[in-house]
């Protein structure tokens, strides 16, 4: 098992960058508002992984606390965002965000 590379900081950062990439991809390409929200969650979790990885790497509890905060706020954010989506659906009869452009011009 010695020739196997031990799991280090770079692995976590790589996972986190992939997650960020997927999240951004989802936010920018999906039309469904709920999928876009899911992309946002992915980005937040990518950030959480970064916090935890750096926390483990540096020691101390600051990163862990920060990621806990992010999880809590992400929960609140999801609640608000889903409420907005429901309202959008009520007005536009759709959750396609490309059709929600009445603020244009």
């Amino acid at each position: 098992m010695e020739h196997l590379i031990p799991i280090g900081l770079n692995h976590y950062l790589t996972i986190s960058a992939l997650l960020l990439g997927f999240g951004l991809f989802a936010v920018m390409t999906r039309k469904n508002a709920i999928v876009v929200l899911m992309g946002v969650e992915l980005i937040l979790n990518a950030a959480n992984i970064n916090f935890l990885a750096f926390s483990k790497y540096n020691g101390g509890i600051g990163g862990v606390m920060f990621s806990l905060f992010v999880i809590v706020i992400a929960a609140a954010e999801a609640a608000i965002a889903l409420a907005i989506v429901i309202n959008i659906f009520k007005i536009f009869k759709s959750v396609d965000i490309s059709s929600v452009d009445t603020m244009k011009e």
Partner: protein
């Protein structure tokens, strides 16, 4: 304050009160308020007579003088001028007392006379108001103790004269005459004011006393020529007011005024104001200025006398006679016969007022006929007028036993004495002109008496169409009936007769002097003494003499010195002599010499002038009474001379051709300058401003507005571009955010690497 000063202030203000009452309320008063004018003047005369009595009769002191003044305007220290303090004051000396009584008396008599003469005039009340303000101004001149207040009253006299000459202003000739008088006086007054300013610039005071004190102390900083100029400029005021040669043209035309006004203003008082003023400034006149004054006076006397002999209007003859007599007075002052000139002023005032009032009575009786050619034979119809007019005529001609004889001879004796002292041949011209004018005076007055009072009535000879003034009814009378016109002539009523009698009585010698041949023995010449001059050679001689006598090097100057000494010794002995006789002592040797020579010339003057007067009267008799020489044929024979005199030496035409045409031309040139140059400049500026405004407008429109619009446009355009970015699609914003972030990273890392 001296009680006489208080009384004189009352006298001064009473006529003003009369003016104020009559000018505002004459229509509400019975008889248009004429009794107020007469009554107030009567009071003023009574007070003046009291002043005269206490000064002349009771005090009887040649040096009597009381003065009082107060600060009227105090401007403090004016930059560039110095202390400027204007005082008003009153001085009463013998001359003032005499003038005060004379002016108020003649004014009273003229007021009284006017109640008859002006009766029925539609502006009757206003007439008396004007007489009141005139009397006020004249008394102001008489009482003033400084140049400033005398100048104010001088102008007031000019104004009231203007109002009274143009009293019948509906007539064009009267309106023209009043303007002429006013303008001619203005010319003189400008000179007078300049003279006052020269003296003020030196001494910072207007007061006579202080100016003379400063002059006597030798504080006049400028050259003697300036002093002569100051004297002559002040004399210009007299030239205007007293109608002396260059400005005499207004006085004959002033006869357009009512005849009592002519008597009061243009014969007795206002024209005498000029002479009075020269007498007041007499002591500051340098010998050079006095020579000029003497020559102007002599020339005026002669010229006016030659004009008077051919005039046909009864008042014009008297007007030119007045100019001539004023010339005598100025001549008298010029030659240094100070008291004689003032004596003539007073005597002339009385007999000339009498003549004018008499001519007014004649004109009144003849229904406003003024032309002597159509008079005649009035002696029987108007005995009172005839008697008084004749007496005054004799006084004017200068026959013995009259006042005019004494005063005129005193002047002529002074002129002879002056010519003797000056010694030059040309100076004998002055007495020669004087004597010749005396003969002419006798001649033209003889002519007037004869034409008016003697012979048969010539009313019917008058051409009917040659009728410019007067009543239409009268011309009809003259045309159809020989005697009808003469029958209408009646003696005037008592209120016009009484002034004539009083004035005629005042023309008799006994009023002035017990000796009919010598005015110097009378109270007048004793009370009015020649004042000691404050300028001239007297002061210089005294200073120069010791230096010359002590210097041995100036041997050749000795004869001159000796004559000086002789002269002075002579003067000194003269002074002692005079002092011994209780007569006037002169401080100035030149004055003493002239007075001495004049005294010596007294009897020659009497002889020559008597011969001249007799010659003049007999010549008038030969021509007009016995008709040995026919006047009309003679006039034809010497037609150029006759026309020269009839047309008043063509002075009016000369002035018309020079000054009036000249000023019209000048005004035309100035008008051209105004329309073309001044207006051109103004219009040019206007055009310039308009063009500038257009340019400004364009700048505003294109540059300023352009900037504003460009800003708006660019904002608009930018907005339009940026609006495209506002897609409303969340993903676009995210994409943009990423691009920007990426761009930032690129920038940041590029900075890190380089």
């Amino acid at each position: 304050m001296h009680s006489l000063i208080q009384l004189s202030i009352v006298v001064l203000l009473l006529p003003l009160l009369s003016f104020v009452i009559l000018i505002f309320f004459n229509r509400r008063l019975p008889r248009r308020g004429d009794f107020i004018g007469v009554g107030i003047l009567g009071t003023a005369f009574a007070i003046s007579a009291y002043i005269f009595w206490s000064v002349i009769v009771q005090t009887y002191d040649p040096a009597f003088r009381v003065a009082w003044d107060f600060t009227w305007i105090d401007l403090g220290k004016v930059p560039g001028i110095g202390p400027l303090q204007i005082k008003m004051g009153i001085v009463i000396d013998n001359l003032t007392a005499i003038m005060l009584a004379m002016v108020t008396l003649i004014s009273l008599l003229v007021h009284l006379y006017s109640t008859g003469y002006m009766a029925g005039d539609k502006n009757y009340g206003r007439y008396f108001a004007f007489l009141g303000i005139f009397t006020f101004s004249m008394l102001g001149i008489v009482l003033s103790d400084n140049l400033f207040s005398i100048y104010i009253f001088w102008e007031l006299v000019g104004l009231s004269s203007y109002l009274l000459i143009g009293f019948f202003f509906e007539k064009d000739s009267a309106a023209d005459a009043q303007k002429k008088a006013f303008l001619a006086n203005r010319v003189g007054d400008i000179g007078m004011w300049l003279g006052i300013l020269i003296l003020y610039s030196q001494f910072h005071t207007f007061s006579f006393e202080q100016i003379y004190a400063n002059l006597a102390a030798g504080k006049f900083a400028m050259s003697n020529a300036w002093l002569t100029a100051a004297g002559l400029l002040l004399f210009m005021g007299c030239v205007g007011k007293s109608a002396q040669f260059p400005l005499h043209i207004w006085l004959p035309d002033a006869m357009e005024g009512p005849t009592p006004v002519s008597a009061l203003i243009h014969a007795a008082t206002m024209v005498a104001a000029g002479v009075y003023f020269v007498a007041r400034i007499f002591v500051l006149l340098t010998p050079d200025a006095l020579h000029v004054i003497a020559f102007i006076g002599a020339f005026t006397a002669f010229m006016a006398a030659t004009i008077a002999i051919t005039q046909n209007d009864i008042k014009r003859v008297l007007a030119y006679s007045t100019v001539s007599q004023l010339g005598y007075m100025v001549l008298g002052l010029g030659v240094g016969a100070y008291s004689a000139a003032l004596f003539h002023l007073v005597t002339h005032a009385f007999f000339k007022a009498c003549l004018f009032l008499g001519s007014g009575a004649i004109i009144h009786a003849m229904h406003h006929e003024q032309d002597m050619r159509w008079m005649g034979g009035l002696r029987k119809h108007m005995p009172w007028t005839f008697a008084t007019f004749t007496l005054a005529t004799l006084a004017l001609a200068g026959l013995p036993l009259t006042s005019g004889f004494m005063s005129k001879d005193a002047i002529l004796a002074g002129a002879i004495g002056f010519a003797n002292v000056e010694g030059g041949g040309v100076y004998y011209l002055i007495p020669a002109l004087g004597f010749f004018s005396a003969m002419l005076t006798a001649f033209y007055m003889g002519r007037q008496i004869w034409l008016v009072f003697f012979g048969e009535s010539r009313t019917h000879l008058k051409p009917a169409d040659n009728h410019h003034h007067g009543h239409d009814a009268h011309s009809a009378h003259g045309a159809h009936d020989d005697h009808h016109g003469a029958h209408e002539v009646h003696e005037v009523s008592w209120n016009m007769r009484a002034p004539l009698v009083i004035l005629a009585v005042l023309s008799v010698f006994i009023v002035y002097s017990p000796n009919p041949l010598d005015g110097a023995e009378g109270w007048f010449m004793k009370m009015i003494r020649t004042p000691a001059t404050v300028v001239g050679p007297a002061n210089h001689n005294c200073a120069a003499l010791p230096a010359q006598t002590t210097s041995p090097l100036m041997a050749e100057a000795l004869p001159a010195v000796e004559t000086h000494v002789a002269t002075d010794a002579h003067a000194v002995s003269e002074v002692e002599h005079a002092a011994a006789k209780g007569e006037h002592a002169f401080a100035d040797p030149r004055q003493a010499e002239i007075a001495h020579a004049a005294h010596a010339a007294h009897f020659p003057a009497i002889y020559i002038s008597s011969i001249m007067v007799v010659l003049g009267i007999s010549f008038a008799g030969i021509v007009f009474v016995f008709r040995i020489i026919d006047p009309d044929k003679t006039a034809e024979a010497i037609r150029p001379l006759y026309l020269f005199s009839l047309n008043k030496w063509y002075w009016d035409e000369i002035y018309q051709a020079t000054f009036i045409k000249g000023s019209v031309l000048l005004s035309k040139i100035l008008s051209w300058f105004d329309t073309n140059v001044i207006d051109g400049i103004v219009n040019g500026v206007a055009v310039l401003v308009r063009n500038l405004a257009f340019a400004n407008n364009s700048f505003d429109k294109y540059v300023v507005d352009g900037l504003v619009n460009f800003t708006a446009f660019s904002v608009n355009t930018t907005g339009a571009v940026l609006r495209k970015l506002q897609t409303g699609k969340v993903q676009t914003y995210v994409a943009l955010l990423l691009v920007v972030l990426f761009g930032y990273f690129v920038f940041y890392f590029t900075r890190l690497i380089y």
